[in-house]
Symmetry: C2
Subunit: 190 residues, 2 copies
């Protein structure tokens, strides 16, 4: 079981700020699911909010709408095959956790599970915006709890050096990912 | 002047899919501006749409609202200092192109300029959604033209090997960026 550390909500946007691909987990009345999504990003700092696009055809959509909650999990390089599997099948047809060889863990504040082995988790409550949901498949969530793996995120910053298998994944298309690379610091102009 | 190649609209989402930080450029009645934004992502494939968050206090917001257009430019590692400069000052106070040492170039289909030296450009026309704009500072754009640097993007895929200075930037906070790293291909399960 990974050692996860809480991330203060004011800095939780930094988990998503660099644009990683996520796993969206959801649950309702004993049924749970996990799907991959490249289209997720921060929307606001305080209270912290996120955006995620979830198609109407998915089980995740059903579970999110029924429960009003979801978790954005940030998977890592070691999980690339599982992420692709979670993005290539439908939870309406298979148990996606089993089919993707991913394991659910209890979350802190929502009924949706965390996905084990991920490097960060953002537990979210949906802020209802029916027009966005219907017209654009776009959901807004308020982040109500966040955790990250202290090997790669602490004091509000990522630090992947020495943990290459825990680098975040950035999906392009067709089974093709990129992995986040080197860190660079730029001093602001005087 | 960089050699830019057109990107077919159906694959233009792939320019943003891996979550790079962007430069938003805009213009209206002879005034133009450029700002950095980490909060931009694809919203739809066909017609291709993007989301970007632009604060009410910015000149970019004024120019976008007045013109109904903007460009998302994808800057690269060689431009990190300029991106930070474009994200740290206000176009209401300084000429941001000059202050950031960035150069505007004419776009194909919009009045907003392209930012020279970037590895890709998405020219967008705003799809008006007043509630999102007012409540969340959130804008939806339809991509009406896209170009990319063929050194690093062709046939719908990024290929940064051998072009480290052209790798995309992924902002965290406080002048701290990450650069996109290695590519990995995962075969779908049989």
């Amino acid at each position: 079981m990974p050692r996860l550390a809480p991330v203060e909500l004011a800095k939780s946007y930094r988990l998503l700020n660099h644009g990683p691909t996520v796993l969206v987990s959801s649950a309702h009345e004993g049924r749970s699911n996990v799907m991959a999504a490249a289209w997720a990003m921060p929307l606001d700092f305080d209270p912290p909010k996120v955006l995620v696009v979830v198609d109407k055809s998915t089980l995740t959509r059903q579970l999110m709408e029924a429960s009003g909650e979801f978790v954005l999990n940030i998977p890592c390089k070691a999980q690339a095959a599982q992420v692709l599997a979670a993005g290539s099948q439908s939870g309406k047809e298979v148990d996606k956790f089993a089919a993707s060889e991913l394991s659910p863990l209890p979350a802190c504040k929502v009924g949706a599970p965390l996905v084990a082995g991920c490097i960060a988790h953002l537990e979210c409550k949906i802020i209802s915006e029916p027009r966005n949901e219907q017209q654009y498949d776009l959901f807004i969530g308020e982040i109500i709890a966040a955790q990250a793996d202290p090997d790669v995120f602490s004091n509000g910053h990522w630090h992947f050096d020495g943990h290459d298998d825990k680098r975040s994944l950035h999906y392009v298309a067709g089974g093709h990912f990129m992995v986040i690379g080197e860190e660079i610091d730029v001093s602001p102009s005087p």
